[in-house]
């Protein structure tokens, strides 16, 4: 039959089906009647004639069916029938459908989310042209891997010019941007002039840096108004350009002040451009301004390693070639410079993408392991469910086979049904995946690169659909082939008792046990992490974060010199302090270098009189320059003595406050107040900047502030008056009577009122700092918890399914027992007993496994051992409770068995 004819026939079938059916019915009816009439004319009685005619026909329905089979579009029609039937079955067995779809959704969703993470973070090539030509150069040595120093970089650049174009990117700073609008704090990175071309990117507007833009400013140039330096060059990011300059094309050539130094904007980087580099702490925050370094690299010290070097291989050059050249270069450096010889200086050239994802790989690997565990549980669940379901199919299939259906037809029907499950499960799974990806984006530490890019990209979607197709095939084929077999007669028997039956029950029993065991491992891990986090958060930190607002500032304007005297800074700090203190709702204000739990830290050594005499090397302490009232603002109690006063600061008195630990170590058994302490402060006396020792009087003792970090020993802290150690970086702390966030605006206003160019940034509640400091712990906990939770849910569902199936199969047994006098409680005990036995077996295995495996978590636990008995006890109790709940339904169902009916159905 030609395609056209087939098409026409198909069309006819689809559009005129009911009419065709009617015609067919009529035709066969006519045949029957005519045949009967014919036989009557041959002499038979009416009844005989009809009987003969019917026999000849062979059954109206059969003939119709045979015609239908021949009709075009049969496959389509049958498949449509299967779909409708399947949907009806799905709706009828709602519980089963819900469970199967949920299980599939969990599997597909978790898989997709994980794969999208793997794809975005590990697999997807970097968003630059020819990303495989991008390399990263680092210096390996005895002290580990480091960036390059300026003179080494310059020399290296020259040596490899024929093979590759190399550039560098430096660390990032938060700096003030002023001029042309509101002062603002921006993220800035100094870069090599060729950095855009190394990445292979063209500027969106304006031009990229040229070598001439890298103007080396003589030291102190900005402080000298008689010889103003030419403005430096700056490029801004696309996002920043849109936000601050409204996308104005005339931004090129505009003058702005970066940290009070004039710069001219020469270009805009393309939208979504990011300079990806390995080992950054924060991959989410965007750089807004790029500038040149303005330093004479050749004269800088060879041990100042801070240049992160990137390179683009020239066409036709391989990484190995560049590595070889780098090796020879390293050799020459080692022989030419002592510092390199001693550290075993060796340059390594690695593919940029590899290096970027190296750290992320382990994290994703752990995730992968957890997802596999959950998938295993989900798969065993589904298998169990299908085994249970398949046996109910058996009877139906047996009947249909006997009535003449082909095996293919039955297989097709089961496949269609399983595809329906798969479709629903995939749909739900994709929704779950989207939600999971959102969760991942929010939760994952910012130190994982490109995590904010995870989305349902093409390959991820394809992967997801692939998984669901596979699942559908597996789910469908197995039972289909199994149950459409020739053993139709056996299926017709009501209760299929026999070796096969028992084997199946044992199989599903073992599946449940393994599910429970796996879940126990996950939940135990979760419990340990949870307990650890709770303890961590409950640590008496030595400060009160409630209702405290913090913010940061940088006082590096030429208006506030540090040397020779810090009084300008002290004046600024005092004015800000007093102004904010007057705002309604403010209980205390303090300014200081470090806020507890933030990542900054500065420290030098200290020594008491006795220590100075007996020790050769003095122990370190954290140095915290503060203003009066800082301790009150942060909530650290003074245990002895007094706080600083403004008089102390203005007269630059040599006084300090020490913490308990320092007091105990320096003057055991003595009162520290009044004693002398040797400290070190920066000074310019005698020329260059250096650390100068001073003896200060101890005027107070403060409570210990614990860092609460895992595996970190708290070292001693001493508090100095800000006048002695007037840093440019400052934190502001405001303790409020009520909601501290209400004070953000007013506090900023007061600061601006003191100095229009000095804006504070990063306003946050101190509580969020505390919360952020445990971000890694929270991340592990959430992930493990999610997996543990889903594992538990799946195991519970699995247990429920098996118990239900078991009850259905044991209907006779239960009937007999009840007939023999068992009361409902006995039946419940019977069913529960079986269920608990399974759960207990799983628990035993699981606890043993958990005890063995939780050691991997040890370095994440705070004051909790990996085999903490309390946690394990709670987990066991939880699982027993869940098992009881899961078995309750089937147990109750068992009691509703009518012994008469059960016995009759033999």
């Amino acid at each position: 039959m030609s395609l056209l004819q087939k098409g026409k026939a198909l069309w006819a079938v689809v559009t005129r089906r009911s009419r065709q059916e009617e015609e067919l019915s009529g035709e066969i009816e006519a045949y029957l009647e005519l045949a009967a009439k014919e036989k009557q004319e041959q002499g038979m009685s009416a009844a005989e004639a009809w009987r003969e005619a019917r026999l000849e026909l062979g059954g109206v329905e059969q003939v119709k069916e045979q015609v239908r089979e021949v009709r075009a579009g049969r496959l389509l029609e049958e498949t449509w029938q299967d779909v409708v039937y399947g949907l009806r079955m799905l709706a009828k067995h709602r519980g089963f459908t819900a469970v199967a779809v949920l299980t599939l959704a969990l599997g597909v969703g978790a898989n997709t989310a994980l794969f999208s993470m793997v794809y975005s973070v590990l697999l997807r090539s970097l968003p630059y042209p020819d990303p495989e030509r991008l390399v990263f150069v680092l210096a390996d040595g005895k002290q580990g891997k480091k960036p390059l120093s300026p003179p080494d970089f310059v020399e290296f650049q020259e040596q490899v010019a024929s093979l590759a174009e190399v550039g560098y990117v430096r660390g990032q700073w938060m700096i003030y941007l002023t001029g042309d609008g509101q002062p603002e704090v921006v993220r800035m990175r100094p870069v090599a002039t060729n950095f855009l071309s190394v990445y292979g990117v063209q500027p969106y507007l304006g031009r990229a840096f040229q070598p001439e833009d890298d103007v080396v400013l003589p030291p102190g140039a900005t402080a000298n108004p008689e010889a103003p330096a030419p403005p430096g060059a700056a490029m801004i990011s696309y996002g920043f350009w849109q936000r601050r300059f409204g996308g104005d094309p005339n931004v090129i050539g505009k003058l702005i002040q970066l940290q009070f130094e004039p710069h001219r904007i020469i270009g805009v980087t393309p939208p979504n451009f990011r300079a990806f580099l390995p080992d950054q702490e924060d991959y989410i925050a965007d750089v807004q301004v790029w500038t040149t370094s303005g330093m004479n690299f050749r004269t800088m010290p060879r041990d100042a390693a801070f240049l992160r070097v990137i390179g683009r291989l020239k066409p036709g050059v391989t990484r190995e070639q560049l590595q070889e050249l780098a090796g020879r270069f390293s050799e020459r450096q080692r022989s030419a410079h002592t510092i390199h010889r001693e550290s075993g200086y060796e340059l390594r050239v690695v593919p940029l993408q590899d290096e970027l994802v190296a750290n992320a790989r382990t994290g994703v690997g752990v995730l992968f392991g957890a997802v596999i565990l959950v998938l295993l549980i989900a798969c065993t669940n589904l298998t169990n469910l299908l085994l249970a379901r398949g046996s109910s199919h058996r009877r139906e299939f047996a009947v249909r086979l006997a009535l003449g259906s082909s095996r293919m037809r039955l297989i097709r029907q089961v496949l269609v049904e399983s595809w329906l499950y798969a479709a629903l499960g995939t749909g739900a799974g994709l929704l779950l995946a989207v939600w999971l990806m959102r969760l991942l984006r929010e939760l994952t530490p910012r130190s994982v690169p490109r995590l904010d890019e995870i989305a349902l990209h093409g390959p991820v979607l394809a992967f997801s659909l692939g998984v669901s197709v596979l699942a559908a095939l597996l789910l469908g084929l197995l039972p289909a082939i199994r149950f459409s077999g020739v053993d139709a007669l056996a299926g017709l028997r009501e209760s299929g008792r026999g070796a096969g039956e028992l084997g199946r029950r044992r199989q599903s029993g073992w599946l449940v046990v393994s599910q429970v065991a796996l879940s126990v491992i996950l939940v135990a891990g979760t419990g340990l992490l949870l307990r650890s986090l709770v303890l961590l958060l409950g640590v008496d930190a030595g400060f009160q974060p409630d209702n405290v607002l913090t913010a940061e500032m940088t006082l590096s304007s030429p208006k506030y010199p540090r040397y020779p005297s810090a009084q300008a800074r002290v004046r600024f700090v005092r004015q800000v302090s007093e102004r904010i203190a007057q705002l309604p709702g403010v209980q205390a204000v303090g300014l200081g270098l470090v806020v507890p739990l933030s990542r900054q830290d500065t420290g030098h050594s200290y020594a008491s009189d006795a220590m100075a005499k007996s020790l050769a090397v003095y122990p370190p302490a954290k140095y915290r320059p503060i203003t009066p009232d800082f301790l009150r603002a942060v909530g650290t109690r003074l245990l002895a003595g007094r706080d600083f006063t403004w008089a102390d600061l203005e007269r630059e008195r040599l006084v300090v406050i020490v913490d308990e630990t320092l007091a105990r170590k320096a003057w055991p058994e003595e009162d520290p107040v009044g004693k002398s302490l040797r400290i070190e402060v920066w000074s310019t006396k005698g020329g260059a900047v250096h650390l100068e020792p001073l003896w200060a009087e101890v005027i107070g003792v403060a409570q210990n502030v614990r860092s609460g970090r895992l595996g970190r020993e708290d070292i001693e802290t001493l508090y100095l008056p800000y006048s002695l150690y007037a840093t440019a970086e400052l934190s502001v702390l405001v303790r409020a009577a009520g909601n501290p966030e209400a004070l953000i605006g007013p506090a900023n206003q007061e600061i601006l009122a003191v100095d229009r160019d000095m804006t504070a940034f990063n306003f946050r509640r101190m509580e969020s700092l505390v919360w952020d400091s445990v971000a890694p712990q929270r991340y592990s906990l959430t992930l493990l918890g999610a997996f543990g939770g889903s594992g538990l849910l799946l195991a519970a569902i699995g247990l429920y399914g098996v118990m239900r199936y078991s009850v259905v199969r044991r209907v006779n047994e239960i009937g007999v027992r009840m007939a023999l006098g068992a009361n409902p409680w006995d039946v419940i005990r019977l069913v529960l007993g079986q269920g608990i036995k399974l759960a207990a077996a799983g628990l035993l295995l699981g606890v043993a496994g958990a005890l063995a495996l939780t050691r991997w978590l040890e370095n994440q636990l705070y004051q909790v051992t990996a085999t903490d008995p309390l946690t394990f006890a709670v987990v066991v109790a939880l699982f027993l409770l869940v098992a009881l709940l899961a078995c309750y339904g089937p147990a109750r169902r068992a009691t509703k068995v009518d012994p008469v009916v059960a016995l009759r159905c033999e």
Binding site: G26, E27, A30, L34, E56, G58, E69, R71
Partner: protein
């Protein structure tokens, strides 16, 4: 169930039906009776084979529903050959004759 048997005879049954319809339009029972009559009872075509064959032939475009002035039964369906059907009948008859001649030749030789 009896699929194999039908396959062997399918081509032949088609040929017989087409031949029966060549002179005049007929309905299902009439076709069956005619074939029975000509073969003197040797071939009794059951409706289970006849009707599917009729539908298939219709889909192939070799027969079509005939408009008959007077029907034996008002719901009976009358079929007639199409011109394509006539062509196919000629070709199929030739093929059949060639095939049977060849078989006869083989059967007659002494081997």
């Amino acid at each position: 169930m009896a699929r194999k048997r039908t396959e062997l005879l399918q081509g032949t049954l088609d040929l017989l039906i087409l031949k029966t319809l060549a002179p005049e339009p007929r309905h299902g029972l009439s076709i069956a009776r005619r074939i029975e009559q000509i073969t003197r009872g040797a071939l009794a075509v059951k409706p289970g084979s006849l009707f599917p064959a009729l539908y298939r032939l219709e889909q192939e475009g070799w027969i079509e529903e005939a408009a008959v002035p007077v029907k034996e039964h008002n719901r009976a369906r009358y079929y007639q050959l199409t011109s394509a059907g006539r062509k196919h009948l000629r070709a199929a008859t030739e093929k059949w004759e060639r095939a049977t001649t060849a078989v006869e030749l083989v059967l007659r030789t002494n081997s």
